[in-house]
């Protein structure tokens, strides 16, 4: 599956000069020319190592300002690291941030030629690709207007279209999917999947965990300029989301200290039949959801669970009132409940279990708590769940 290393980073560190004053500028200029001397700087990246092999897809996640874009720029060759080694092989196409490497004063069509020339294509070679690019971008007559008059979505459309036509060996994209509209995003994700199936290599930076999970097998989490985690996309994104969850919780503590006068799910977790907390289940195993709900008036709330696949497709959901279940009081306006799924029928994949707290009448929905889990197994079944069925000999008529 994976071939030779296309990208190899070792000990990559990037310092940006601090240019607050004119004196800083001059001092930096002199030290650059003579090749030594102290330069006022701040550190954007520190000691990053990464290897991407041909055919791999690697996601890059992290908070705003963590250094993701700088890292991508270093790999794309736009920025030279202060320290460390960067080896990049093959034809690289990079869609870095908005603008995607287009010249704002050039028209869309001129930018196509420019981007092609950057990739080393002659004008004649580029001309043979222009029509396909314009068709993919689908921005109509705007193609002959300067890029600076484009909406950000249109720029990304064109950038993506150019990347698709140039068929790079390594494609670097920095948060470009987020800008396109729904149908264009779908088109892009589809194209990316085809590109990856065809042996392409992808480095995707995104804040959409869904895109990272669906498109990337491995993920690097950059935190304050350092590599915080690297591994299977699902593990890393979950860790990352947990981090945010915790951060939000600690940020929101003062507000949450006042108990809201609304029903909510106070805690929820997923465990197996023996009561051990787990996030991975084999198909057919038993899965138990445990939770504690809070109801300000001390009346039993209605709880609703829902299971959605990682891509957002709803699988099944049901309120506790439907089964006539009433959560029992567990002291101080709290109510414990559990939902048990014997012989899990879900097909292998990633799922999210959502729990919602409703008022005792089951009319208003107040809170959502999500837990992710994975179902593993080897099967050629497709769809969402395994339905009970039996094959039998048929009759001719």
């Amino acid at each position: 599956m994976s071939g030779p290393a296309l990208v190899r980073l070792a000990g990559v560190t990037k310092d940006y000069p601090k240019l607050a004053t004119d004196a800083d500028r001059l001092r930096t200029l002199v030290s650059l020319l003579v090749g030594r001397g102290e330069r006022p700087h701040f550190r954007a990246l520190e000691d990053i190592g990464l290897e991407v092999r041909a055919g791999e897809s690697v996601g890059l996640i992290g908070e705003n300002g963590a250094g993701k874009s700088t890292l991508l720029k270093i790999i794309a060759g736009v920025v030279r690291p202060t320290r460390g080694t960067v080896e990049v092989q093959g034809r690289v196409s990079a869609l870095l941030e908005l603008g995607s490497g287009f010249h704002p004063d050039y028209t869309g069509r001129e930018n196509i030629f420019l981007s092609s020339a950057v990739m080393g294509l002659s004008r004649r070679e580029a001309r043979s690709k222009v029509d396909a690019i314009i068709e993919f971008a689908d921005i109509g007559s705007h193609i002959d207007e300067p890029i600076k008059h484009y909406s950000s979505g249109m720029v990304v459309r064109l950038g993506f279209a150019v990347a698709t036509a140039l068929r790079p060996e390594l494609l670097i994209t920095d948060e470009v999917l987020a800008v396109g509209d729904e149908s264009f995003q779908k088109k892009c994700v589809q194209w990316l999947q085809g590109y990856l199936d065809g042996g392409g290599t992808l480095l995707l930076c995104s804040h959409s965990m869904y895109h990272v999970q669906t498109l990337c097998r491995k993920t690097l989490w950059v935190h304050h300029g350092r590599a915080r985690a690297f591994g299977e996309s699902f593990d890393v994104t979950r860790e990352y989301l947990t981090y945010h969850e915790e951060k939000r919780r600690s940020d929101a503590k003062p507000a949450a200290a006042v108990p809201g006068n609304m029903p909510r799910i106070e805690s929820a977790w997923i465990e197996d039949a023996t009561g051990a907390r787990r996030a991975t289940f084999r198909q057919g195993e038993s899965l138990v959801v445990q939770g504690v709900a809070f109801e300000p008036d001390g009346r039993s709330p209605v709880v609703l669970f829902g299971i959605v696949r990682a891509d957002g497709t709803p699988v099944y959901g049901s309120p506790s009132s439907e089964a006539g279940f009433v959560p029992a009081a567990a002291g101080d306006r709290r109510f414990a409940f559990a939902v048990r799924f014997d012989s899990l029928a879900l097909l292998p994949g990633k799922y999210t279990l959502r729990l919602h707290a409703l008022d005792p009448e089951g009319l208003r929905l107040f809170d959502t708590v999500e837990n992710e889990f994975v179902v593993t197994g080897e099967t050629r079944d497709f769809g969402l769940v395994r339905m009970q069925h039996a094959w039998t000999q048929g009759r001719a008529r």
Partner: protein
């Protein structure tokens, strides 16, 4: 150093072509006159100089140049100067002007400087050729056989312009004062160069200093070649070497600083 940055100039020939082409066509995009302005501007400049110096100051053409009016005398040195000064100004600003691209795409930044310089020379060489033809038709003694040698003399001139552009451009990217200083220095150099006057008008004591400037030498020589016939001297070789050295120094400075451009743009 990543793989992209170190690609050769040859590997980027299509990009250079694309940038130059765009540089030429965008020059007067949005203006009705289009490329005509590129000729009109120097023509107007020439007309002003010709009027002020030959009519007001009563400047005369030295006897060595026979069959030439003051207009022809100035034109053959003025046009190459315009190419030089304009390409320095544009080449110097090229990196900053293309910041959007440099920050997003891995390509050698030198290309932007080269494209600017080449575009300037391409446009004004065409204009210059037209002006020479017109002067000749109006009876000025332009020696057509001098044109090939004049083109040869343009080579060190271009090297000089490129070297200065590279050096100033890389400094300008980091310290923006350079742009303002350059305009001033170019004006001084223009009047310190025998373009509006022959070198023989300069007091003997100053002549050595004035001619130490390669632009002065090249202006004088271009005039000689175009107005009195082709010739090559040993000092031409010397000036060529000096211009090549300036180019090398400019390229060294540029390559030294270009990895850091992104930090400043």
């Amino acid at each position: 150093m990543s793989a992209q940055r170190s690609q050769t100039l040859f590997g980027h020939r299509w990009l250079l072509y694309e940038l130059t082409r765009r540089e030429i066509f965008s020059r007067y995009a949005g203006s009705a006159g289009g490329l005509a302005w590129t000729v009109l501007q120097p023509l107007a400049q020439l007309a002003i100089f010709a009027f002020v110096f030959s009519q007001v100051f009563r400047a005369t053409v030295p006897p060595a140049y026979t069959g030439v009016t003051y207009t022809g005398f100035v034109a053959v040195a003025l046009w190459p100067w315009i190419m030089f000064s304009e390409s320095v100004q544009r080449g110097m600003a090229a990196v900053a002007a293309n910041a959007g691209l440099i920050r997003k795409v891995a390509l050698p930044c030198e290309l932007f400087v080269y494209a600017s310089v080449i575009a300037c020379y391409a446009i004004h060489l065409a204009g210059f050729a037209g002006v020479l033809v017109v002067l000749r038709l109006t009876g000025e003694n332009i020696r057509l056989e001098g044109v090939p040698v004049a083109l040869l003399l343009m080579v060190p001139y271009v090297l000089l312009a490129t070297g200065v552009s590279l050096a100033l451009g890389s400094l300008h990217t980091i310290v923006r004062d350079v742009e303002h200083g350059t305009g001033l220095v170019l004006t001084i150099v223009f009047y310190a160069t025998p373009i509006l006057y022959p070198i023989t008008f300069v007091p003997e004591a100053w002549r050595g200093l004035v001619m130490a400037n390669p632009v002065a030498h090249l202006s004088e020589r271009l005039r000689e070649v175009l107005l009195t016939g082709p010739s090559l001297t040993g000092s031409d070789l010397l000036v060529t070497l000096a211009c090549a050295a300036v180019f090398a120094a400019g390229l060294w400075t540029f390559r030294r600083l270009s990895p850091y451009f992104e930090d400043f743009l």
